[in-house]
Protein backbone atom coordinates (compact mmCIF):
# COMPACT_ATOMS: atom_id res chain seq x y z
CA UNK A 1 0.00 0.00 0.00
CA UNK A 2 1.11 3.51 -0.70
CA UNK A 3 2.44 5.53 2.25
CA UNK A 4 0.21 8.44 1.40
CA UNK A 5 -2.92 6.36 1.80
CA UNK A 6 -5.13 7.45 4.70
CA UNK A 7 -5.51 5.19 7.68
CA UNK A 8 -8.85 3.59 8.35
CA UNK A 9 -9.34 6.25 11.00
CA UNK A 10 -9.76 8.66 8.10
CA UNK A 11 -13.22 7.18 7.59
CA UNK A 12 -14.09 7.97 11.16
CA UNK A 13 -12.88 11.52 10.61
CA UNK A 14 -15.04 11.89 7.53
CA UNK A 15 -17.93 10.27 9.31
CA UNK A 16 -17.49 12.68 12.20
CA UNK A 17 -17.56 15.60 9.83
CA UNK A 18 -20.74 14.42 8.22
CA UNK A 19 -22.33 13.52 11.55
CA UNK A 20 -21.97 17.10 12.67
CA UNK A 21 -25.67 18.02 12.48
CA UNK A 22 -26.37 16.75 16.01
CA UNK A 23 -23.58 18.78 17.56
CA UNK A 24 -24.18 21.48 15.02
CA UNK A 25 -27.46 22.39 16.65
CA UNK A 26 -25.53 23.97 19.43
CA UNK A 27 -22.65 24.99 17.21
CA UNK A 28 -24.77 26.96 14.79
CA UNK A 29 -27.89 27.74 16.68
CA UNK A 30 -26.56 27.75 20.20
CA UNK A 31 -28.12 31.10 21.01
CA UNK A 32 -31.33 30.31 19.18
CA UNK A 33 -31.68 26.98 20.98
CA UNK A 34 -31.16 28.70 24.28
CA UNK A 35 -33.87 31.11 23.33
CA UNK A 36 -36.18 28.27 22.41
CA UNK A 37 -35.85 27.00 25.94
CA UNK A 38 -37.41 30.18 27.15
CA UNK A 39 -41.15 30.42 27.50
CA UNK A 40 -42.84 31.89 24.46
CA UNK A 41 -44.59 34.48 26.45
CA UNK A 42 -41.34 35.59 28.02
CA UNK A 43 -40.18 38.86 26.60
CA UNK A 44 -36.78 38.45 24.97
CA UNK A 45 -34.67 41.28 23.80
CA UNK A 46 -35.19 41.81 20.09
CA UNK A 47 -31.63 42.85 19.46
CA UNK A 48 -30.34 39.68 21.03
CA UNK A 49 -32.52 37.59 18.74
CA UNK A 50 -31.51 39.52 15.68
CA UNK A 51 -27.83 39.05 16.38
CA UNK A 52 -28.42 35.33 17.09
CA UNK A 53 -30.04 34.92 13.68
CA UNK A 54 -27.15 36.75 12.07
CA UNK A 55 -24.62 34.56 13.82
CA UNK A 56 -26.56 31.44 12.85
CA UNK A 57 -26.57 32.51 9.19
CA UNK A 58 -22.81 33.07 9.30
CA UNK A 59 -22.21 29.71 10.90
CA UNK A 60 -24.47 28.02 8.38
CA UNK A 61 -22.42 29.51 5.56
CA UNK A 62 -19.21 28.35 7.27
CA UNK A 63 -20.61 24.88 7.68
CA UNK A 64 -21.68 24.69 4.01
CA UNK A 65 -18.12 25.63 3.02
CA UNK A 66 -16.66 22.99 5.27
CA UNK A 67 -19.03 20.32 3.97
CA UNK A 68 -18.06 21.22 0.42
CA UNK A 69 -14.35 21.09 1.23
CA UNK A 70 -14.74 17.76 3.01
CA UNK A 71 -16.67 16.37 0.08
CA UNK A 72 -14.00 17.45 -2.38
CA UNK A 73 -11.34 15.94 -0.14
CA UNK A 74 -13.33 12.73 0.14
CA UNK A 75 -13.67 12.51 -3.63
CA UNK A 76 -9.97 13.22 -4.08
CA UNK A 77 -9.16 10.36 -1.73
CA UNK A 78 -11.72 7.99 -3.21
CA UNK A 79 -9.10 5.77 -4.92
CA UNK A 80 -7.05 5.81 -1.75
CA UNK A 81 -9.92 4.76 0.41
CA UNK A 82 -10.40 1.63 -1.71
CA UNK A 83 -6.85 0.65 -0.88
CA UNK A 84 -7.51 1.62 2.69
CA UNK A 85 -10.46 -0.77 2.68
CA UNK A 86 -8.26 -3.48 1.19
CA UNK A 87 -5.89 -3.06 4.14
CA UNK A 88 -8.70 -3.87 6.51
CA UNK A 89 -9.77 -6.86 4.46
CA UNK A 90 -8.69 -10.22 5.88
CA UNK A 91 -6.14 -11.63 3.43
CA UNK A 92 -6.37 -8.52 1.25
CA UNK A 93 -8.16 -8.03 -2.05
CA UNK A 94 -6.38 -11.00 -3.63
CA UNK A 95 -7.82 -13.45 -1.11
CA UNK A 96 -11.31 -12.01 -1.62
CA UNK A 97 -10.89 -12.34 -5.39
CA UNK A 98 -9.63 -15.91 -5.06
CA UNK A 99 -12.61 -16.93 -2.94
CA UNK A 100 -14.99 -15.12 -5.29
CA UNK A 101 -13.58 -16.75 -8.44
CA UNK A 102 -13.34 -20.18 -6.81
CA UNK A 103 -16.92 -19.92 -5.61
CA UNK A 104 -18.13 -19.30 -9.15
CA UNK A 105 -15.79 -21.86 -10.69
CA UNK A 106 -17.03 -24.54 -8.34
CA UNK A 107 -20.58 -23.62 -9.25
CA UNK A 108 -19.66 -23.85 -12.94
CA UNK A 109 -20.67 -20.26 -13.50
CA UNK A 110 -17.49 -18.95 -15.10
CA UNK A 111 -17.18 -18.68 -18.85
CA UNK A 112 -13.77 -18.51 -20.40
CA UNK A 113 -14.93 -17.37 -23.81
CA UNK A 114 -13.89 -20.57 -25.53
CA UNK A 115 -17.03 -22.23 -24.31
CA UNK A 116 -19.00 -19.52 -26.02
CA UNK A 117 -16.91 -19.92 -29.12
CA UNK A 118 -17.59 -23.64 -28.92
CA UNK A 119 -21.28 -23.00 -28.82
CA UNK A 120 -21.62 -20.02 -31.10
CA UNK A 121 -18.71 -20.01 -33.47
CA UNK A 122 -16.54 -22.98 -32.61
CA UNK A 123 -19.28 -25.44 -33.40
CA UNK A 124 -19.63 -23.89 -36.82
CA UNK A 125 -15.89 -24.16 -37.37
CA UNK A 126 -15.87 -27.75 -36.16
CA UNK A 127 -18.53 -28.58 -38.72
CA UNK A 128 -16.59 -26.73 -41.38
CA UNK A 129 -13.42 -28.55 -40.37
CA UNK A 130 -15.13 -31.92 -40.47
CA UNK A 131 -16.56 -31.13 -43.90
CA UNK A 132 -13.19 -29.93 -45.06
CA UNK A 133 -11.39 -33.08 -43.81
CA UNK A 134 -14.11 -35.32 -45.15
CA UNK A 135 -13.96 -33.64 -48.54
CA UNK A 136 -10.21 -33.94 -48.63
CA UNK A 137 -10.40 -37.56 -47.52
CA UNK A 138 -12.75 -38.31 -50.41
CA UNK A 139 -10.39 -36.61 -52.79
CA UNK A 140 -7.53 -38.62 -51.30
CA UNK A 141 -9.26 -41.89 -51.99
CA UNK A 142 -9.73 -40.89 -55.56
CA UNK A 143 -6.16 -39.69 -55.80
CA UNK A 144 -4.74 -42.89 -54.41
CA UNK A 145 -6.38 -44.69 -57.21
CA UNK A 146 -4.70 -42.37 -59.71
CA UNK A 147 -1.17 -41.19 -59.60
CA UNK A 148 1.24 -41.25 -56.72
CA UNK A 149 2.51 -37.77 -57.48
CA UNK A 150 -0.98 -36.51 -57.11
CA UNK A 151 -0.91 -37.90 -53.57
CA UNK A 152 2.07 -35.70 -52.76
CA UNK A 153 0.31 -32.66 -54.21
CA UNK A 154 -2.81 -33.46 -52.31
CA UNK A 155 -0.86 -33.82 -49.04
CA UNK A 156 0.80 -30.51 -49.65
CA UNK A 157 -2.47 -28.75 -50.42
CA UNK A 158 -4.20 -30.35 -47.46
CA UNK A 159 -1.48 -29.25 -45.06
CA UNK A 160 -1.62 -25.74 -46.45
CA UNK A 161 -5.37 -25.67 -46.06
CA UNK A 162 -5.28 -26.90 -42.48
CA UNK A 163 -2.65 -24.29 -41.55
CA UNK A 164 -4.71 -21.61 -43.24
CA UNK A 165 -7.79 -22.76 -41.39
CA UNK A 166 -5.94 -22.78 -38.04
CA UNK A 167 -4.58 -19.29 -38.72
CA UNK A 168 -8.02 -17.95 -39.47
CA UNK A 169 -9.38 -19.55 -36.35
CA UNK A 170 -6.62 -18.09 -34.17
CA UNK A 171 -7.20 -14.55 -35.39
CA UNK A 172 -10.90 -15.03 -34.90
CA UNK A 173 -10.36 -16.23 -31.32
CA UNK A 174 -8.11 -13.25 -30.53
CA UNK A 175 -10.62 -10.87 -32.08
CA UNK A 176 -13.34 -12.52 -30.02
CA UNK A 177 -11.43 -12.04 -26.76
CA UNK A 178 -10.66 -8.41 -27.62
CA UNK A 179 -14.31 -7.73 -28.27
CA UNK A 180 -15.29 -9.40 -25.03
CA UNK A 181 -12.73 -7.24 -23.24
CA UNK A 182 -14.16 -4.04 -24.73
CA UNK A 183 -17.68 -5.06 -23.71
CA UNK A 184 -16.53 -5.92 -20.19
CA UNK A 185 -14.69 -2.60 -19.82
CA UNK A 186 -17.80 -0.74 -20.92
CA UNK A 187 -19.91 -2.58 -18.34
CA UNK A 188 -17.30 -1.85 -15.68
CA UNK A 189 -17.29 1.85 -16.57
CA UNK A 190 -21.09 1.87 -16.51
CA UNK A 191 -21.07 0.35 -13.03
CA UNK A 192 -18.50 2.86 -11.79
CA UNK A 193 -20.51 5.70 -13.30
CA UNK A 194 -23.74 4.42 -11.74
CA UNK A 195 -22.01 3.98 -8.38
CA UNK A 196 -20.60 7.50 -8.50
CA UNK A 197 -23.99 8.92 -9.48
CA UNK A 198 -25.61 7.05 -6.61
CA UNK A 199 -22.97 8.35 -4.18
CA UNK A 200 -23.32 11.88 -5.53
CA UNK A 201 -27.09 11.69 -5.28
CA UNK A 202 -26.92 10.31 -1.76
CA UNK A 203 -24.42 12.96 -0.74
CA UNK A 204 -26.40 15.76 -2.41
CA UNK A 205 -29.60 14.55 -0.73
CA UNK A 206 -27.88 14.46 2.64
CA UNK A 207 -26.46 17.96 2.21
CA UNK A 208 -29.79 19.26 0.91
CA UNK A 209 -31.55 17.77 3.91
CA UNK A 210 -29.07 19.44 6.21
CA UNK A 211 -29.45 22.76 4.46
CA UNK A 212 -33.24 22.43 4.57
CA UNK A 213 -33.05 21.59 8.25
CA UNK A 214 -30.89 24.57 9.03
CA UNK A 215 -32.96 26.82 6.81
CA UNK A 216 -36.01 25.74 8.82
CA UNK A 217 -34.17 26.49 12.02
CA UNK A 218 -33.07 29.83 10.67
CA UNK A 219 -36.66 30.59 9.65
CA UNK A 220 -37.82 29.57 13.11
CA UNK A 221 -35.20 31.81 14.69
CA UNK A 222 -36.29 34.68 12.45
CA UNK A 223 -39.92 33.99 13.28
CA UNK A 224 -39.07 33.98 16.94
CA UNK A 225 -37.14 37.22 16.55
CA UNK A 226 -40.14 38.66 14.73
CA UNK A 227 -42.42 37.57 17.54
CA UNK A 228 -40.01 39.06 20.06
CA UNK A 229 -39.98 42.30 18.10
CA UNK A 230 -43.78 42.39 18.04
CA UNK A 231 -43.91 41.60 21.73
CA UNK A 232 -41.40 44.34 22.34
CA UNK A 233 -43.41 46.75 20.20
CA UNK A 234 -46.58 45.75 22.02
CA UNK A 235 -44.80 46.21 25.30
CA UNK A 236 -43.56 49.63 24.22
CA UNK A 237 -47.02 50.56 22.99
CA UNK A 238 -48.51 49.36 26.25
CA UNK A 239 -45.93 51.34 28.16
CA UNK A 240 -46.70 54.41 26.05
CA UNK A 241 -50.40 53.99 26.62
CA UNK A 242 -49.78 53.48 30.28
CA UNK A 243 -47.56 56.54 30.39
CA UNK A 244 -50.20 58.52 28.54
CA UNK A 245 -52.87 57.27 30.91
CA UNK A 246 -50.64 58.08 33.85
CA UNK A 247 -49.92 61.51 32.42
CA UNK A 248 -53.62 62.03 31.79
CA UNK A 249 -54.47 60.91 35.28
CA UNK A 250 -51.69 63.11 36.64
CA UNK A 251 -53.03 66.03 34.64
CA UNK A 252 -56.48 65.36 36.00
CA UNK A 253 -55.11 65.06 39.48
CA UNK A 254 -53.16 68.25 38.98
CA UNK A 255 -56.26 70.03 37.71
CA UNK A 256 -58.16 68.68 40.65
CA UNK A 257 -55.46 69.89 42.93
CA UNK A 258 -55.56 73.30 41.28
CA UNK A 259 -59.32 73.33 41.56
CA UNK A 260 -59.10 72.32 45.15
CA UNK A 261 -56.43 74.91 45.74
CA UNK A 262 -58.55 77.52 44.08
CA UNK A 263 -61.51 76.39 46.10
CA UNK A 264 -59.42 76.44 49.23
CA UNK A 265 -58.10 79.83 48.33
CA UNK A 266 -61.63 80.92 47.79
CA UNK A 267 -62.64 79.36 51.03
CA UNK A 268 -59.69 80.97 52.69
CA UNK A 269 -60.60 84.25 51.18
CA UNK A 270 -64.15 83.69 52.29
CA UNK A 271 -63.00 82.86 55.77
CA UNK A 272 -60.68 85.81 55.84
CA UNK A 273 -63.46 87.99 54.60
CA UNK A 274 -65.75 86.53 57.16
CA UNK A 275 -63.18 87.03 59.86
CA UNK A 276 -62.53 90.49 58.67
CA UNK A 277 -66.21 91.06 58.60
CA UNK A 278 -66.46 89.72 62.08
CA UNK A 279 -63.50 91.71 63.04
CA UNK A 280 -65.09 94.70 61.50
CA UNK A 281 -68.33 93.86 63.09
CA UNK A 282 -66.61 93.13 66.32
CA UNK A 283 -64.65 96.23 65.91
CA UNK A 284 -67.82 98.07 65.15
CA UNK A 285 -69.58 96.20 67.89
CA UNK A 286 -66.88 97.02 70.36
CA UNK A 287 -67.02 100.48 69.24
CA UNK A 288 -70.74 100.39 69.94
CA UNK A 289 -70.20 98.63 73.18
CA UNK A 290 -67.64 101.19 74.14
CA UNK A 291 -70.03 103.84 73.24
CA UNK A 292 -72.67 102.07 75.21
CA UNK A 293 -70.25 101.59 78.03
CA UNK A 294 -69.24 105.11 77.79
CA UNK A 295 -72.82 105.91 77.57
CA UNK A 296 -73.45 103.65 80.47
CA UNK A 297 -70.55 105.00 82.32
CA UNK A 298 -71.56 108.40 81.48
CA UNK A 299 -74.99 107.43 82.27
CA UNK A 300 -73.78 105.77 85.37
CA UNK A 301 -71.66 108.67 86.08
CA UNK A 302 -74.66 110.77 85.58
CA UNK A 303 -76.67 108.38 87.59
CA UNK A 304 -73.99 108.16 90.17
CA UNK A 305 -73.66 111.83 90.23
CA UNK A 306 -77.29 112.04 90.55
CA UNK A 307 -77.28 109.38 93.13
CA UNK A 308 -74.40 110.93 94.86
CA UNK A 309 -76.14 114.18 94.67
CA UNK A 310 -79.20 112.57 95.86
CA UNK A 311 -77.30 110.72 98.52
CA UNK A 312 -75.51 113.82 99.47
CA UNK A 313 -78.73 115.57 99.53
CA UNK A 314 -80.10 112.82 101.75
CA UNK A 315 -77.16 112.94 104.01
CA UNK A 316 -77.29 116.48 104.20
CA UNK A 317 -80.88 116.24 104.84
CA UNK A 318 -80.49 113.59 107.40
CA UNK A 319 -77.25 114.73 108.88
Amino acid sequence: MSEKMPSSNKYAEYADQFKMPDELDEFIFGSAVEHEAEADDEVVEYKEHTSAVGRAADRLADFADRVHESRVELQDNFAETIEDKAERLAGGAKQLGKSAVSGLKNAGLITLGLTIIGVEAGAKKVVEAKDYVSEKAGEAKTAIGDKSEKIADFASESKKGVIEFAGNKKSEVISFFKNKKDEAIQRKLDRQSARKMAQDYKEASRINNQIDRYAEKKARAEEKADRAEKRQQAKEKLAQEKNLANAHAAAIRMNNRIDRRVAIEKMKEGVVESINDKKDRARNGARGVSKSIFKFINKAKASGAAAYSTWSDYDRKHA
Binding site: Y11, I82, K85, A86, R88, L89, A90, G91, G92, A93, K94, Q95, L96, G97, K98, S99, A100, V101, S102, G103, L104, K105, N106, A107, L109, I110, T111, L112, G113, L114, I117, K170, V173, I174, F177, K178, N179, K180, K181, D182, E183, A184, I185, R187, K188, R191, Q192, R195
Partner: protein, 102 residues
Protein backbone atom coordinates in the same frame (compact mmCIF):
# COMPACT_ATOMS: atom_id res chain seq x y z
CA UNK B 1 -2.66 -30.51 -10.58
CA UNK B 2 -3.10 -26.76 -10.47
CA UNK B 3 -6.52 -25.16 -10.50
CA UNK B 4 -5.94 -21.98 -12.43
CA UNK B 5 -8.94 -20.07 -13.68
CA UNK B 6 -7.38 -19.24 -17.03
CA UNK B 7 -6.23 -22.53 -18.48
CA UNK B 8 -3.46 -23.65 -20.80
CA UNK B 9 -6.11 -24.69 -23.33
CA UNK B 10 -7.45 -21.15 -23.43
CA UNK B 11 -4.01 -19.75 -24.10
CA UNK B 12 -3.37 -22.38 -26.74
CA UNK B 13 -6.54 -21.29 -28.53
CA UNK B 14 -5.02 -17.83 -28.76
CA UNK B 15 -1.93 -19.35 -30.27
CA UNK B 16 0.16 -19.10 -27.12
CA UNK B 17 2.23 -22.25 -27.05
CA UNK B 18 4.90 -22.40 -24.35
CA UNK B 19 6.97 -25.07 -22.67
CA UNK B 20 5.55 -26.46 -19.44
CA UNK B 21 7.66 -24.36 -17.08
CA UNK B 22 6.89 -21.05 -18.81
CA UNK B 23 3.25 -21.95 -19.20
CA UNK B 24 2.94 -22.76 -15.46
CA UNK B 25 4.66 -19.50 -14.58
CA UNK B 26 2.38 -17.50 -16.90
CA UNK B 27 -0.78 -19.19 -15.65
CA UNK B 28 0.24 -18.58 -12.03
CA UNK B 29 0.93 -14.91 -12.75
CA UNK B 30 -2.38 -14.51 -14.57
CA UNK B 31 -4.23 -16.20 -11.72
CA UNK B 32 -2.71 -13.91 -9.10
CA UNK B 33 -3.43 -10.84 -11.19
CA UNK B 34 -7.00 -11.95 -11.86
CA UNK B 35 -7.69 -12.60 -8.17
CA UNK B 36 -6.30 -9.19 -7.26
CA UNK B 37 -8.45 -7.46 -9.90
CA UNK B 38 -11.60 -9.35 -8.96
CA UNK B 39 -11.02 -8.67 -5.26
CA UNK B 40 -10.50 -4.94 -5.86
CA UNK B 41 -13.58 -4.71 -8.10
CA UNK B 42 -15.75 -6.46 -5.49
CA UNK B 43 -14.26 -4.37 -2.70
CA UNK B 44 -15.58 -1.23 -4.34
CA UNK B 45 -19.08 -2.65 -3.95
CA UNK B 46 -18.72 -3.54 -0.27
CA UNK B 47 -19.51 -1.12 2.51
CA UNK B 48 -17.32 -0.73 5.57
CA UNK B 49 -19.76 -2.81 7.61
CA UNK B 50 -19.81 -5.55 4.97
CA UNK B 51 -16.01 -5.73 5.07
CA UNK B 52 -16.18 -6.42 8.79
CA UNK B 53 -18.82 -9.05 8.10
CA UNK B 54 -16.63 -10.66 5.42
CA UNK B 55 -13.64 -10.74 7.77
CA UNK B 56 -15.66 -12.73 10.30
CA UNK B 57 -17.14 -14.99 7.63
CA UNK B 58 -13.75 -15.76 6.07
CA UNK B 59 -12.55 -17.23 9.37
CA UNK B 60 -15.15 -19.98 9.35
CA UNK B 61 -16.37 -20.38 5.76
CA UNK B 62 -15.05 -21.97 2.58
CA UNK B 63 -14.97 -20.42 -0.90
CA UNK B 64 -18.42 -21.72 -1.83
CA UNK B 65 -20.01 -20.17 1.26
CA UNK B 66 -18.17 -16.90 0.64
CA UNK B 67 -19.39 -17.00 -2.96
CA UNK B 68 -22.97 -17.40 -1.75
CA UNK B 69 -22.52 -14.53 0.70
CA UNK B 70 -21.08 -12.32 -2.06
CA UNK B 71 -23.99 -13.11 -4.36
CA UNK B 72 -26.35 -11.95 -1.60
CA UNK B 73 -24.45 -8.76 -0.83
CA UNK B 74 -23.47 -7.81 -4.39
CA UNK B 75 -26.27 -8.34 -6.92
CA UNK B 76 -23.84 -8.08 -9.86
CA UNK B 77 -21.26 -10.34 -8.28
CA UNK B 78 -21.16 -12.90 -11.10
CA UNK B 79 -21.07 -10.25 -13.81
CA UNK B 80 -18.26 -8.37 -12.06
CA UNK B 81 -16.12 -11.52 -11.85
CA UNK B 82 -16.92 -12.46 -15.45
CA UNK B 83 -16.02 -8.96 -16.66
CA UNK B 84 -12.65 -9.06 -14.91
CA UNK B 85 -11.96 -12.44 -16.51
CA UNK B 86 -12.96 -11.13 -19.95
CA UNK B 87 -10.79 -8.05 -19.50
CA UNK B 88 -7.86 -10.22 -18.48
CA UNK B 89 -8.33 -12.62 -21.40
CA UNK B 90 -8.66 -9.69 -23.80
CA UNK B 91 -5.41 -8.24 -22.51
CA UNK B 92 -3.70 -11.60 -22.94
CA UNK B 93 -5.14 -11.93 -26.44
CA UNK B 94 -3.74 -8.53 -27.37
CA UNK B 95 -0.29 -9.75 -26.35
CA UNK B 96 -0.64 -13.25 -27.74
CA UNK B 97 2.01 -12.72 -30.40
CA UNK B 98 4.58 -11.44 -27.90
CA UNK B 99 3.81 -14.18 -25.41
CA UNK B 100 4.19 -16.86 -28.06
CA UNK B 101 7.70 -15.67 -28.81
CA UNK B 102 8.83 -15.66 -25.18
Amino acid sequence: MNNYTITEATLNEMGIILDAEKMTSLLGHLDDELNERVGTALLEELSSEQIDEYNKLSETSDDDQIGEWLSLKIPEYKQIVQDEIDIMLGSVAEKAEELSKS
